[in-house]
Symmetry: C2
């Protein structure tokens, strides 16, 4: 047998894996494209026309490395949120930033608290640095704030993850509850508050920023409300000393200039964001109405997706498979209790039309199978 | 004093640093833009017009996450290099890929062999995972293949880094020498062969690919010859089992769709690449002629930059500062022996004109200061 350069024991122990299978992979397997792409909580309404313009202009400068400090974008974000540029680090989407946080705080065996059924990519990064996941079941369809806090204290966990609004259920806690949660955590537990869906949530769900609090990192993204998932731009707001720690390990020249320009243009087009949020809200209502028309309930959502309760795991699984067979891309939670639902992203009317018809068929097929 | 969530001891020990200060940071400090941007080995000739078009088209799809397998791009690269898609992983530039390799192979204390004065960003990633750098001085202006090999054997190092052509000196080894080096390394030493400047080198400097060899990772990029530094797209060619290891830790959705499309378009426009390579070659000759006209020698280069020998460290430092004061962005090596040079990237004629005039002035000022 050939001898090989040795991976670290940790790397050796990890599976070659992917937190999510990409829809392109499924399309290649099926040999045809999806008719509706509603599975990855992308924003099919698309970005502002000003973003498209900004990308076209920035394309002429792609020969330059992007500004490693993302200075213009950070200044605009600081102004937007009433904090300072030193409170902000920009990175390759929340996914990339979660990986950096995991690297800063996790050694093999470090306890990390999250919800059972919470964001798989966070768990992927925790495992990737050898962390020990401590999971707290949802309370109904809500992440369990009290349970997360108790686990953080019991484990003396340096990292605690909460998404608000929640993915995959779409539920949310009001700011007052989140703030009480923050204040109940040990000073030595860093809360990763993943607000990927912050813009689509009611303002009442978002606590005020506390730019000097050393144990909260708020994560935001241009992937959802701003429809820039394919550009990979997220950012963290936190206390300056913690934010500086990212400079110890980040890929300094990792942010493309095109991405910085697109994100800045997106941030500046408030009118378009407002229009998007109206579309998202209207589409959530339509998805709830489609569920109701099929005698099903849906979970009230503050995100750009709706979880539809199919009544049980087996039915939900059959419905999702039926939708995929009908070239409609959706996903579903895998965790007991949550797994009675399928998760459908908002999107343009024509794709929702396709979903509506396919959903009724898939439901009927699922029931006939029983 | 406030208690804080504890960074890992390794993270705590790292400085908040940046391997290179960005030219934008220097421009902000100076309060005015550079007149010539020739310091970061970017490609000021710019990308193919087809790349600009591809970016414009892809902009309409930025709401989608990029294909996490970079399937189309990997297929094209496999065809280009006569290997299989399973031999290739695409990532966020060579910088990002170097970070992943470091993570796969380095634990605190792991010995890693590189040249004294070699690529600082590689050293940054090695330090970031707690590796112990073992450095081998250059032999003249060449990376010392024999010395690197001896160090790898003596240290039983799982990682050895070589750039060919070399950065910062621009020198290169012929393929036969590189192949002998590869074959002399222990089976348990992984060679990172950084070929960022592979396209600008003579074909005779690039060994044949050995897609089943488990201890070589060849790194390429779209940042240099293809002028896409600001898009962050690099790739690694290696044996499939090693390539699969990247799937254990990479940010699977980290490659923007726009970047994948731009890189594919760049790869396909052979005529434009050919034109670029002619421009690079002509500009290297012009930079050498400028050095000669100032009674200085330059180091023969297979890259898109030229190291000009200013005769000594102090003069080179003064010349670089003089150029910066004259709004000409260049950099220089900091390592004794190499530090007698400044490093000037190729670029369009008008920027080289600016350099030429400022260089003569900076040289005269440096000599008057002595």
């Amino acid at each position: 047998m050939t001898r090989r350069p040795p991976l670290t024991p940790l790397a050796q122990s990890l599976p070659s894996t992917v937190p999510f299978v990409g829809p392109e992979t499924q399309e290649r397997a099926a040999g045809r494209p999806f008719r509706a792409r509603l599975g990855a909580n992308e924003n099919g309404f698309g970005p502002s026309p000003r973003v498209i313009e900004a990308i076209g202009s920035a394309a002429h400068h792609v020969w330059k490395y992007g500004d490693p400090e993302s200075s213009d974008l950070r200044a605009a974000l600081a102004s937007e949120h009433g904090v300072k540029p030193e409170n902000i680090v920009v990175g390759e989407g929340i996914d990339g930033l979660l990986g950096l946080v995991a690297r800063l705080y996790i050694e093999p065996g470090t306890p990390v608290v999250t919800s059972l059924g919470g964001y798989p990519t966070f768990n992927y990064h925790v495992a990737g640095f050898g962390g020990r996941l401590v999971t707290v079941p949802y309370a109904g369809d809500y992440e369990n704030l009290e349970g997360l806090c108790e686990a953080a204290i019991a484990e003396n966990a340096p990292l605690v993850y909460l998404s608000n609004p929640d993915n995959p259920m779409g539920t949310w806690w009001e700011a007052g509850e989140v703030q009480r949660f923050i204040e109940s955590l040990p000073e030595t537990s860093m809360l990763i508050l993943d607000e990927a869906y912050g813009e689509t949530a009611p303002a009442s769900a978002l606590p005020h920023f506390e730019p000097d609090r050393p144990n909260v990192l708020r994560m935001r993204t241009f992937s959802k409300a701003y429809a820039l998932a394919g550009m990979r731009c997220g950012y963290v707001i936190g206390e300056p000393e913690t934010i500086r720690a990212f400079d110890k390990i980040r890929n300094h020249f990792g942010m493309p200039g095109v991405t910085q320009a697109a994100s800045l243009a997106a941030l500046q087009d408030k009118a378009y964001l407002h229009k998007t949020l109206e579309r998202v809200s209207a589409c959530r209502d339509r998805l709830a109405a489609i569920a109701a028309a099929n005698a099903l309930t849906s979970i009230p959502s503050a995100t750009n997706f709706v979880a539809i309760d199919c009544g049980g795991r087996a039915t939900a699984e059959a419905v999702m498979q039926g939708l995929l067979e009908r070239d409609v891309f959706v996903r579903k939670p895998a965790t007991p209790g949550l797994d009675r639902c399928i998760r459908v992203s908002v999107g343009p009317d024509d794709e929702i039309d396709v979903f509506e018809a396919a959903f009724a068929e898939a439901l009927a097929a699922a029931h006939n199978r029983r």
